[in-house]
Symmetry: C2
Subunit: 370 residues, 2 copies
C-alpha cells in the first residue's frame, strides 16, 4: 500500500482557506485525546468560549464552536432561527450570499434576495429601500465575501436592520481574526465563522454566537429545530450550565487546535494581528502592481485577507496555479461562478499574512508569469 | 493566562468513546495542512473511501466520511432519505434508537417505533410481526447499542426488511472496526459510523455509505434535501467524479487522522482486530467476575467493545469513576437514561482493546472498590 502522506509537505497556503497553521496549533492537534465529559476538557471548552467572545466582539452567553466546518455554522444559524414561512432577506454579492439563500429556502423560509454585482459591495441605500418591503424575520449578509474579495458594510446595514425588529445574521467566515469584528456594536444577532481562515486552525469547527434576542426567538419556536445535530437548544446544555449533558461527542483534538489558535491571537493582540493583515495586503497589492496585475475590487471595498486579482487576457490561469503549487509549493485559489477563469484569489489569512510570505509569492509569480 | 493543556496527559480511555489513539494517528493529525482541492489531498480522499469500503463490507460507490461526528452521520442518513410523510420504523432498545426516532420525526417522517427493554436485544419475531403494519419507507436499527452494550441481530432483521422494499438503515457507530460489519451481506441500504470508537481516531468524522437503492431514492426526491451542509447530492460531487467541485472545506487534518487509523487496521488485518476485541472482552468479563461484578447483558447479546457492568447496591458509582480518572488515569463511562447510576460502561474499542489495558483496569478497579 502506497503511503499517500509522503508527498504531503509544508505548502504555503495562499488560497481562500485553509491558511497556514502555526506550529503550536499542530502540536495541539496531536495532544492526548481525553473524554468529552472530562473536567479538564470542560475547563478548556469554557476558555475557548471566553476567547471566542473576545475575537467576535460580543458578550453573548451563547458563543461556541459548532462541530463542523464553516458551512455548518451557516446551517446552524438558519436552522435554529428560521421557522417555515418566515420572511428572510439575503443580501447577495457572491457565492456565500447565494448559499445563504439556498440554505434558508431549504428550511421553508420565504426568501427574498437583494443582489449586487459580484466584485462590488452591498449598497446601503439599496438596503434601506428594500427594508421597506418588510417586515423580515431575518436579514442576512456576508461580511467578507470570500468569492470576490469584497468587504460589505455590515455596521451600516446593522443600523438599518435593528429598528425593523428583524434578526441580523452575519457571516464572518473569512473576516474573523483578520479584521475588526464587532458583533454587539453591529447589533448583530447571529454570527458564524470557520477556523481555517484567519484563525489559522485547520478546517473542522465553526464558531457561532447568538444574541439574547436570537436566543429568545430560538426558545419561542413553535416546532423543534429540524436538525438534531445542530440544535442549539441541545448543544448549549453540553457547552454551558452547571451539569454538562452529553449531546454528541465533541471533536476533542480539533478543539485543542482551536484553543491553541485562539491563544496565539490573544498573545499577539488583536490590533497587532489586524495591522499585520493590512500591511501584508498593501505589500501584496504593490507587488502585484509592479508585475502589471490589477485588483478586481475598488480600493475602499477591498478585504485585506482575500485578494481578487484579475487574470490578464493572455494568461492561462490554471497553468499559473499549477506551476505555483508544483514548482513553488504555493497554493492560490481560482475564481468561482461568474468569476471562474477571470480572477485568482490570493489569501493572506492568519499565520499566512506575513511580509516574507508575500515577498515569496511575488517572486514566484514573477518567475511563473515570465 | 493559564495553560489548560498542562493537565491534559495520556489517559486510558475505557469509556463509550473516544478510545485510545495510536501514535501514528496523532502524528497524522499534525501533518502539514494542504488545500482541499490539492491533487495530493484528492488522492488521499480516494484511498480513504477504498479503505472504508473494506471495513464496512460494501462495494457501494457512495462511501465517504461526513464532516461531523457520528451523530452527523445519523442526521445525514435520515435527512437525505426521508421525505415528509414517509413512514419510518425505528427499532428502539437504547439511547441511540431513541435518537433516531427523534431525528426522523424532526424531518416530518411519520415515525413508528418498536421498543425493547434496555439491556435486551431486538427480537426478530417481533420485528417480523411489526413489518406487517407496513409498508415502511425506511426501517432503522442500531447494530451496537452504546448505551446498553447490546448487539442487535442486524443480519436477521435485514433478511426480513429486504423483501418489503423498505430501505434498511443501520447505525454502526460503535461496532465498525471492532466486530464484523457486512453492509452488503446484510442488505443494508444506509449505514453510518463514527471515528472515535473502534477506528481509534479522535472524534470529528462520520463514515457513511449508501447502497444503489438508497442513491436511487435520493435522486428521485421531489424536494431538495432540507440540509445544505449534509446534502449528499452536493457532497458526492466533491468526493467523487472526474472534476471535484468545492462544496465545503473538508476537515483536512482530521482526514489525515482517519487515513492513518484505517491504515493501522488494514495492516493488522480485520480478523486479527476482531479477535483482539473478543479476547479483551473475555478477559474483562472474567476479571470483573473475580471482583464479584456482573454484566447487564446476557452472554449471547453482549458486545465485545462496550461492556455494561452492574453497579453493586452499596457502591457510589460516580465516586468510582472519579477515583479511576484522578488516581489511575483511566476513564470509564456512566449509564444513560434509565440506566444512569445502575451501570458502568467499559469500552474496549480499537487501540484500547489490549490485554495489558484490561489487566491495568482490573487492578485499578480492585484497588478502588477496596
Amino acid at each position: 500500500m502506497a503511503d499517500l502522506f509522503k508527498p504531503i509537505t509544508e505548502t504555503m497556503l495562499m488560497g481562500p482557506g485553509p491558511s497556514c497553521v502555526p506550529a503550536a496549533v499542530y502540536e495541539a492537534l496531536a495532544r492526548p485525546t481525553i473524554g468529552h465529559l472530562d473536567p479538564r476538557f470542560i475547563a478548556l471548552m469554557d476558555e475557548i468560549k471566553a476567547l471566542l467572545r473576545g475575537v467576535i466582539g460580543t458578550r453573548n452567553d451563547l458563543t461556541l464552536p459548532i462541530s463542523g466546518t464553516g458551512s455548518a455554522g451557516m446551517e446552524t444559524c438558519f436552522v435554529n432561527l428560521v421557522e417555515p414561512g418566515d420572511r428572510v432577506l439575503v443580501l447577495v454579492n457572491g457565492v456565500f450570499g447565494t448559499r445563504m439563500a439556498d440554505v434558508a429556502g431549504r428550511l421553508r423560509a420565504e426568501v427574498d434576495t437583494l443582489e449586487f454585482e459580484w466584485g462590488t459591495p452591498v449598497r446601503v441605500d439599496a438596503v434601506r429601500e428594500k427594508l421597506a418591503d418588510g417586515p423580515y424575520a431575518i436579514v442576512a449578509v456576508v461580511h467578507a465575501e470570500t468569492s470576490t474579495g469584497v468587504c460589505n458594510p455590515v455596521a451600516e446595514v446593522g443600523q438599518l436592520v435593528a429598528p425593523t425588529g428583524a434578526l441580523y445574521l452575519v457571516d464572518t467566515v473569512t473576516s474573523l481574526g483578520g479584521m475588526p469584528v464587532a458583533m454587539d456594536a453591529w447589533s448583530c444577532d447571529a454570527l458564524y465563522s470557520g477556523t481555517q481562515k484567519c484563525l489559522s486552525c485547520p478546517p473542522g469547527l465553526a464558531p457561532v454566537s447568538f444574541s439574547p434576542k436570537a436566543v429568545e426567538k430560538l426558545k419561542a419556536r413553535g416546532t423543534k429545530v429540524p436538525n438534531w445535530y445542530l440544535d442549539l437548544t441541545l448543544i448549549t446544555s453540553y457547552w454551558g450550565g452547571e451539569k454538562r449533558s452529553y449531546h454528541h461527542t465533541a471533536p476533542i483534538n480539533m478543539l485543542y487546535g482551536l484553543y491553541a489558535a485562539l491563544q496565539c491571537i490573544d498573545r499577539e493582540g488583536l490590533e497587532s494581528v489586524f495591522r499585520r493583515h493590512r500591511e501584508a495586503h498593501e505589500q501584496l497589492v504593490a507587488g502585484l502592481g509592479q508585475l502589471g496585475l490589477e485588483m478586481l475590487v475598488e480600493p475602499a471595498a477591498r478585504l485585506p485577507m482575500l485578494n481578487a486579482v484579475c487574470v490578464p487576457d493572455d494568461v492561462d490561469e490554471a497553468a499559473v496555479r499549477k506551476s505555483l503549487l508544483e514548482e513553488h509549493d504555493i497554493e492560490i485559489g481560482a475564481g468561482l461562478g461568474p468569476l471562474a477563469g477571470k480572477i485568482w484569489r490570493i489569501g493572506l489569512m492568519g499565520h499566512t499574512a506575513r511580509a516574507e510570505n508575500v515577498a515569496r509569492l511575488i517572486a514566484a509569480m514573477k518567475s511563473v508569469l515570465g
